[in-house]
Symmetry: C2
Subunit: 364 residues, 2 copies
């Protein structure tokens, strides 16, 4: 079984990312990252029926328990986290146990937060089964849960011992979720790799058709970007904030529309386009680049204006509670070119509203 | 205002500990450790009426909120932690805010865990107001809350930006809590400083009478020991575990008797004596040393046998769920001499039961 390997370089907390087909059957690889003899696999009721038995088969000889959460962002809550802690304690999992996240970003974030906080931190193995999780949320050590007041408001940094991305698991991913994952792939092109953005324009159809070579290339290149950014800036004080392109808008769209209306990647796609349009309004990005971005988003089946039914004033209000607000000052990631992002103080609310409205308008 | 300063050396996360009288009035010192412009002070309903206004006065110019928790270990819960998070969000405290813990170990652990998990970690200033917190829990980065299944089962490592120990706050500490703090001071002598143990035998009365010079010496020497151990081993894989002398027994005593029956330091005092007696039974520690330990504990008004009403079998059962159990193997900190501790696999249950019984017997 061939695969590609990258490393997130964080000193003593460095860890590898494996990307390839058939990795869930690779028992030796999986077992080499387990601590102790006890394992709790956390998954959801969509992914578990598809891949849980395969994973358990690879872990024979370990004491393996499982915890299945209903599928959906609305279950990324204090209650779900607390239920995992209850099970860890009732089954007396020791400090040297390993928690495995088998699923998408919600399962990864939730399991990671349980691993970060159980007995002040236990080992945590990421097995992302969605494209979004494979290229984004499983890499970088962010864990967390939602609060009624906002997404990911509760959480911790807790690096996994390894990330194992089996591209075979993408075969069962709904098309809409595949596209949502591509949104984050596009983001890497936009913030730091114009050539990769061009490659995506050429290979969008191949990705949407799930051609393995194209998928592995896109995932590996995305993870490479994320690895470089995270290694340079583990806790988001500087460069790491560039990864938030489209996210301040996107989170506000998700909250405003209600969790579950838009997938994270869909909201981010529209958020990136708002950021591009705003960059254009400010004279930093040319109109042709905005149109290239809009076209790629559209070709991937992603929404151009997920915020269309949301009053811009409400969007601004929701943005004000976003984590990226530093001491009352809203900061945004904007574009100077495709492949070149900057962090800046937010422009006047009127300009943000105008950009949202223009993208919401018919015929953009 | 003169004070002593120590440093916990943890690379980029190093932080100072200030020990002295009148530090709560030292506005410049306090303010130099605040991030951003927003502060939440967490305290309890015993400490807040005594010192909150004094602290707020030193923070003029900042946007200061407060969160008061009822006094007691029984409030170190998920519900209390969640209520702090709710307030942080409803008052929109940004990521660059600072949480201040004003109180004893419960307030420090609870506030620290809120700081560790709010938006994946915000700044955290420790102002311990009990001797126990000043010499132990405020130093070292352990934060956490309790679970019905055991103490500190939920938590994270999160280092404070500074620890400010104002010895004036000890003036209002009940005598029983002062003694409980001395138990942890004795621990440092037992595990790594025979000379300090001797100093404590000479100065026990001065400490109990709250003589400032004796207190500052005892706190500084205790913090110095903790600083050295923590710097060498931040996450308790090796040497740091020596700090748990008496704690595996002590936690079991606290849980078995019900939270609130014994103070932490009281349970630890008896736990250390059980460890000493067991060490003696195993032939590692001489009988005279055990008697010296018992005498010092007794002179400080601490219980020799807090476990007297607890069946030894129940104690063993409770020890089995303690965090120090590694993959099913119970490990204990025992003594080879006063000032010299070792970590070892637990001996046979019968030997532990015999040691508990001997200490529980009248006339020990």
């Amino acid at each position: 079984m061939s695969h590609r390997t990258l490393t997130i370089d964080l000193g003593t907390r460095s860890y590898p990312i494996f990307i390839g087909a058939g990795l869930l059957n690779h028992a030796d690889l999986l077992r080499s990252y387990l601590r102790g003899s006890q394992v709790l696999i956390v998954s959801n009721d969509t992914v578990a029926p598809l891949y849980l038995e395969q994973l358990r088969a690879a872990l024979s000889g370990y004491r393996v328990s499982q915890h299945i959460v209903p599928d959906g962002e609305q279950y990324k809550t204090i209650a779900s986290w607390s239920a995992i802690i209850d099970q860890l304690l009732s089954e007396r999992l020791a400090r040297d146990s390993t928690l495995i996240a088998l699923g998408g970003g919600v399962i990864g974030d939730l399991t990671g937060f349980a691993a970060a906080t159980y007995q002040r931190g236990v080992a945590f193995l990421q097995i992302p089964t969605t494209l979004l999780a494979q290229v984004d949320s499983s890499v970088g050590g962010k864990t967390g849960i939602n609060h009624p007041a906002g997404k990911n408001m509760i959480g911790a940094f807790h690096q996994p011992v390894a990330v194992i991305a089996d591209t075979d698991t993408l075969a069962t991913l709904p098309q809409r979720e595949l596209a949502a994952g591509i949104a984050e792939v596009i983001k890497y092109g936009l913030i730091r790799d114009a050539e990769f953005f061009g490659w995506l324009e050429t290979h969008a159809d191949a990705l949407l058709a799930r051609q393995q070579t194209a998928l592995i290339t896109a995932i590996a290149r995305s993870c490479q970007h994320k690895a470089e950014v995270v290694a340079a800036d583990e806790r988001e004080s500087g460069q790491r904030a560039l990864l938030n392109l489209g996210h301040t808008f996107g989170h506000a769209i998700e909250t405003g529309a209600g969790y579950g209306t838009w997938l994270h990647g869909e909201a981010i796609a529209s958020g990136m386009l708002i950021a591009a349009e705003l960059s254009c309004q400010l004279g930093w990005l040319d109109r042709a680049s905005v149109m290239r971005i809009a076209q790629l988003i559209k070709r991937c089946g992603l929404p151009l204006a997920a915020h269309a039914n949301l009053a811009p004033e409400r969007l601004l209000e929701l943005m004000a509670v976003d984590k990226k607000v530093q001491a009352g000052t809203l900061r945004l990631v904007l574009l100077q070119a495709i492949g070149e992002a900057i962090i800046t103080a937010a422009p006047a609310p009127e300009q943000i509203i105008a950009s949202c409205a223009r993208i919401g308008a018919e015929g953009f």
